[in-house]
Symmetry: C2
Subunit: 709 residues, 2 copies
């Protein structure tokens, strides 16, 4: 029996304690404090900056313990997760001092309700010697660094009882653990399932097949021709279920039977060739149940600044959208840590593979004894919580740790420790130390790369990575959200200041990101003299840019094995950014563009660049993309629509293929007509692939026209 408590909280401030205020559990104490202070929605204008003054506060939660334990029961106070360093006091006595938000902690209670419970949350850890007030401050703790500020996340140090907390009354029949393990035969024809149980009394376990039929009872089961768990697009995410019960207690869970490996990318063993010879790249090809699966998806970040306020409904809405966009993977970026359990349950059910990163990102987490101790405790908790989820396909030490903005290496003790823990606790799941490892690529993050002097079409066609696990093309939020979050007097003309800047339109990364007015103007043939025009231009580039990269990555299969954009959703309303979905759950047009680019079988065009001029020869390779591993074929009719006229170019019969197939190259000289864009259209049955490209009149004509204006 679980007893949830009535919680209040207060801030211990330099000027004295605040009044007690009602507190949500799970939740974030800053949210509740802001509510009491009347600071308004943090998504609006510069409200979030008001919270800077709270950074040094200590917080206290209070509850009068309310539960009933019978004579044969003992009561336990359970915290599923408290963010980040905290003490627990009961009637003034310190019962626990703890550091770490991903571990569950328990405190045995005597059987007297009515005691005063205090949970004291210490100020956020900040390395004193940090040079800047940013993520560096978090490089000696296991709190995800994102809230210390990122280029798409305002600085907003949240904490609190972010996961469920309750008093549980238990008898000897309490089942502390019922964990399934299984082995699959090499040919997948046989599964041996066994349960490990921690309980003082005998436990009755019943196993059900994915249709809900009883398979059998007991702690060991042998299944012949079991139904395997597959990711979205490759098959059914079949889940067996089980219940485990004693007279007084019952738990249940899911089992997805599958084998996952990271194997060498197709073609990568042929490299390198010449002397002096280095190593071959690191494998990053996911193999699911013996099948090499192209991983299509997005980087998952915390979908709310208030990590404690995220609930199952929000997860479900977001993950369902991913499934509907033909995605099969989330890379859960380490900078924002590990999610609540419902996230993984939903990914299990919806067939979304999960790449789990430990909470390290873009810092040098030096392996001091204190840091290693907390990391070991937290990583152990994470591994024990996640290892039974079929959706979890791999672990990763953290984000971009082997680059010069982080300065960690293969020798870093933290990453060697994580390898050890993964090996000890879950050795059959792949582990990589960071992303990118050798062969993979992160970036770029804009439609046009000023260093390379290339647009995203050119940049990615000139690259050859085993996996693209971060890449982004920015767009804006929609007009409605911009009007909601930017005060009316700042809204237009757009300037690099105030709310536009705070909401990441400027200065997030370099001066121009993420609105990138310089790039928007590059392709604008009329002044972008209204908010609507700016939004339309940014949306155009984001949609076409994302299609270009996702489809190019798919064309580079099988050497390339992953296309995972930065990023999926956002934790607050940004003015501009790389996400596909704005806060809290609103699909951008780019979401729908990506949805088309990830169709399992589709016609695709390899277009050398975005920007074309009348008189030039337009070329594009035609492809059939097919990542289903099943035979497909199509008749593709290619045409160009320019200034309202559709010019048919060719019809290509792909023939049957179980994988990608390259077709002919279109060649067509662009006529000089009055237009600023044209569309390449590929029609295959009812399905259409369209690419809306930039068009400019010839130089001579343009100059003439300009003079006539």
């Amino acid at each position: 029996m679980k007893y949830h408590q009535q919680w209040q909280a207060r801030a211990i401030r330099p000027e004295g304690a605040s009044d007690w205020f009602a507190a949500e559990v799970p939740g974030n104490v800053q949210h509740d404090y802001g509510h009491m202070m009347g600071w308004g929605d943090i998504n609006i204008a510069e409200n979030v900056t008001k919270f800077r003054e709270t950074e040094g506060y200590t917080w206290e939660y209070r509850a009068l313990l309310d539960y009933h334990a019978a004579a044969d029961q003992h009561a336990v106070l359970v915290f599923e997760g408290v963010d980040y360093r905290y003490d627990v006091l009961i009637d003034g006595e310190t019962r626990l001092e703890y550091e770490g938000m991903f571990s569950r902690t328990e405190i045995p209670l005597d059987n007297n309700a009515g005691s005063e419970l205090i949970v004291r949350i210490h100020p956020h850890p900040k390395r004193e010697t940090a040079e800047f007030e940013d993520r560096q401050q978090a490089d000696q703790c296991v709190k995800p660094p994102v809230c210390y500020e990122w280029d798409w996340h305002p600085r907003m140090l949240v904490s609190g009882i972010w996961q469920d907390a309750y008093v549980q009354t238990r008898t000897d029949g309490y089942i502390a653990r019922c964990e399934p393990f299984y082995t699959l035969s090499d040919d997948f024809s046989r599964a041996e399932i066994r349960f490990e149980v921690d309980c003082a009394e005998p436990v009755e376990i019943t196993l059900y097949d994915p249709d809900g039929q009883i398979v059998g009872t007991g702690s060991r089961h042998t299944l012949v021709n079991p139904r395997l768990w597959w990711c979205n697009g490759q098959g059914e995410p079949a889940l067996y279920t089980y219940t485990a019960s004693t007279e007084t207690h019952q738990v249940s869970g899911q089992i997805g039977l599958r084998r996952v490996r990271l194997v060498m990318n197709d073609g990568a063993w042929a490299e390198p060739f010449a002397f002096p010879k280095g190593r071959s790249v690191a494998p990053i090809q996911l193999e699911l149940n013996g099948r090499r699966v192209f991983a299509k998806g997005s980087n998952w970040v915390n979908p709310d600044i208030y990590n404690g306020r995220i609930d199952e409904a929000r997860y479900e809405a977001l993950i369902t959208l991913a499934r509907d966009a033909n995605m099969n993977i989330f890379r859960c970026w380490g900078g924002s840590g590990v999610n609540k359990r419902a996230f993984y349950d939903l990914c299990d059910r919806l067939g979304i593979m999960v790449w789990v990163e430990f909470p390290l990102a873009c810092n040098n987490y030096v392996g001091t004894p204190h840091y290693l101790r907390v990391l070991e405790q937290e990583a152990t908790a994470i591994l024990l919580a996640l290892r039974s989820h079929p959706s979890v396909v791999m672990y990763c030490g953290g984000n971009e740790l082997f680059n010069n903005w982080s300065l960690m290496t293969d020798q870093s003790l933290a990453l060697r420790l994580l390898n050890k823990l993964c090996y000890d606790l879950d050795r059959d799941r792949p582990y990589i130390m960071t992303s990118p490892v050798f062969g993979m690529g992160h970036g770029g993050y804009t439609f046009y790369d000023p260093d390379a002097k290339k647009d995203v079409f050119q940049l990615f066609q000139g690259s050859s990575c085993t996996a693209y696990t971060e890449f982004g093309v920015p767009g804006t939020s929609d007009i409605e959200d911009l009007k909601a979050s930017i005060p009316g007097d700042e809204l237009f003309p757009i300037r690099n200041m105030g709310s536009w800047r705070l909401h990441h339109a400027f200065g997030a990364w370099g001066a121009e990101r993420w609105l990138c007015m310089d790039v928007l103007n590059m392709y604008a043939q009329e002044p972008l003299d209204s908010l609507e025009k700016v939004v339309a231009q940014a949306t155009w580039l984001q949609c076409e840019g994302y299609k270009a990269v996702f489809e190019e990555a798919r064309r580079q299969a099988p050497y390339c094995s992953m296309a995972i954009n930065w990023c999926y959703c956002e934790p607050w309303i940004t003015a501009a950014g790389n996400s596909l979905i704005t806060y809290p759950v609103k699909a951008k047009p780019a979401y729908y563009a990506v949805q088309t680019a990830l169709r399992p079988v589709m016609a695709s065009a390899r277009i050398p660049r975005f920007d074309w001029r009348a008189g030039e020869r337009f070329s594009a390779e035609l492809w059939m993309l097919n990542d289903t591993h099943k035979a497909a074929q199509m008749t593709v009719r290619a045409s160009i629509v320019l200034a309202g006229v559709e010019y048919p170019l060719l019809t290509w019969e792909s023939g049957e293929a179980c994988e990608n197939r390259i077709g002919p190259t279109i060649n067509w000289v662009l006529p000089d007509v009055d237009a600023t864009e044209f569309t390449l259209r590929l029609q295959a049955g009812d399905a259409t692939s369209e690419y809306r490209l930039c068009y400019r009149r010839s130089e001579t004509y343009a100059v003439t026209r300009q003079m006539n204006v």
Copy 2:
């Protein structure tokens, strides 16, 4: 008290057991059997092939246990190492069944001497499904694969009691372990030493400084301004010593105080630059006591086919030569496993850093439960035996495992297990999964690379690796050894057959290696029509080739941090090969060439290629190489010696520098004279650097001359 036994051995053959024959312990039973059979020296002709028939034999060692245990003593039978799978029987009772040659095993005895001891050695492990009769057969065992045949090692499966074995009588005062640990303060001004001791009685420990003066007694010591252990060329390899005693037992040992790390190579954090951005290379710069040390040395392989017969004197002769050649590191190649303890003691004393590889090489060691179990046992034994040696600066999972001839990856469980064990048992020593890791290079192995169409001068000047940890230039053995090992009737003309082939002149790797007659002829202007001419030509190329690579690698510092050639010594008499020292301990001319190329401070020339023609402009950059970290300067007088005439070219004052310094480039048009070689000579005080290069007359002249012949 140790009692060594009198040993006999016999072969259990298909046709029946052999007679008992005298057996050396430590030793190899094949050696003793061959001796009994009169099969002759395995270095001569094709004698070694006679041993092929012994591969399937089971061997038995026998001794009548001879020792005396007093009433307060108990007797223990100790095996320091038995190669590879064995049973121990005492009076017919099986007391031990074991797999693994690097673990020490002990069997308690009752106190009655006179029992019959049998050590039964099983046939060599061979994976039954292996495609070829080669190293593949060894990919599910922890026996080093080299004896299954390598391109410089004949197939010769040895086994036996390869390390010491004895009966030890012990009292309660027996010291099972006395292991020192220490921490050094960040500024090296303070060392805290502590001893961990396993003994039933109190142990008295005395610590002595490197001069033999008593520092103190007890299990904890604090040293202020301790003398640090440095590698050869960087300082004194200072060793503290200790004794630990009880009334009945004493042990002693050495402690070298130093901190070693693998840090990022200088300049490597600047890479990569462009999007999509991969990771930076893996660090391979050794930092010793805070100083980045350029690692100069050689790959150490088993110096005898009979691994059991190697003794301290052999180690000492070989390691002393390395020190005298200005080397500071051995990479102990995994293919031939781990050495006896004396090797590491000597390296401690002589200041030679040791890169330890676990016994994996060029195979896919699939992580089956059996393999992982034996690997864990053996790697644990290796780590516990080596971790107190200051000379051991790093661990490596094995040789070339991440290339297509091995097919292991970062995901291979064996390498993740080794990382875990190193972390658990010796976390402050660096661990790399294999060599090469990202950024490093192995090869080439010939003077001229036919794929790249480049000689070694060109190949390495066109490369940019963080470390060159294998590269080789072949030469022949000397005339004396060739005559000793190749039968007179095969000796000349040299043909690809018989003893020449068995001793690796042909067919070792491709048809031409290692004699490389094709390459020798490329640079020969007269027919190589005698054994003496062939040897002279090969020696010339080997000497100049090795100087070219070693000096180029040093010029590429600090980005490049290691130059370690393949290989140092050889386990038998080869006809041709890349070693610097022939069997058993004979320095080749190439040894002396390398000795000059590794002088701490020296004048060096970056010569674009080996082969020059009259009328061409000869160019060479001058350098002062200095890896001492101390200020040096020199006056370099450069001249060319051609057809007996010395042409002075320039004098360069280097100025003072603590590291390498580049000087001017020599430019000089080669006159057309009657010669086939010329020498670039750099004179710096008494020291000379000379480069003997190939010279050809101009085309016109050569053609004319040819017609006149």
